[in-house]
């Protein structure tokens, strides 16, 4: 277990390379059946070279990364901002850094800044997560 002090970083975790199976499984689970995520012809007609992954799948992977380290029962806030589209074959790395420890509603909380990047370092999703801590 990492000591949660400002500046501390969680161990990184990689996801992918992203496959069509990852994408369609998330689409089925989430109910977002937008064809731009699984139909290459449709995506090309919208100006993309191929179907693009689902932003909320990237957010979901970041959520899994956070709950793995901070627990499944303690999330209080989870914010994600979408910067770049992801294609099949991309490998993504999640990272997180402790921003602050604070008290809210009489419980101790940690705020993390979270990022998901491609292998070339480009930012896919960033955001903040707050979890209750003991």
């Amino acid at each position: 277990m990492i000591e949660l002090v400002p500046g501390a970083r969680l161990p990184e975790r990689t996801f992918g390379p992203v496959t069509m199976t990852d994408i369609v499984r998330y689409q089925g689970a989430s109910g977002d059946m937008d064809p731009i995520h699984h139909d290459d012809d449709f995506a090309r007609s919208a100006g993309f070279p191929a179907a693009i992954s689902v932003g909320m799948l990237s957010a979901g992977w970041l959520a899994a990364y956070c709950t793995e380290h901070l627990g499944e029962e303690t999330v209080r806030r989870f914010r994600t901002r979408f910067s770049r589209v992801v294609y099949r074959g991309d490998r993504l790395t999640a990272s997180a850094e402790v921003v602050r420890l604070f008290t809210c509603d009489r419980e101790s909380r940690v705020e993390l800044s979270i990022q998901l990047r491609k292998d070339d370092g480009s930012l896919v999703v960033d955001g903040t997560a707050e979890f209750a801590v003991r």
Binding site: D32, R79, T80
Partner: protein, 144 residues
Amino acid sequence: MATMPIERGKIREYATATAAACPVYLDDPKAPVPPTFLATVVFWTPIGETVRAPEVLRACADAGVEADLGSLLSLEQEYVYHGPLPRAGETLQIAERLRDIQVKRTRDGHAMVVIRFAVSFQDERGGLRAECLYTSAYVQRERP
């Protein structure tokens, strides 16, 4: 007002689809929701009614931006939880509201109408348990 039952099987499916297949999500009959699970609310009610509200359409017309749902960009999503996390077996009441509308410019000079709206989730006793705060935008297609 629409309702959303939190289902155990749906939590298993969602956790597996997001590489979060751990015992808490897979084996607990009263599993807590994963942080972004409430995105599955779309199985119970359409989300995004407010992006077609008259004041949004008016702002788009004034800014010269086509309010085309196909070109609506999702910029940000935030989940805020209040009190105990929603768990499998609970039923939540859903309501959506428009928060604000702002007209901005993209880096390459296109007008952009940014819409912030919220979906709230209340339990059977009326307690607010979670909110999803969306930031979405309609972007002008051609340079003015």
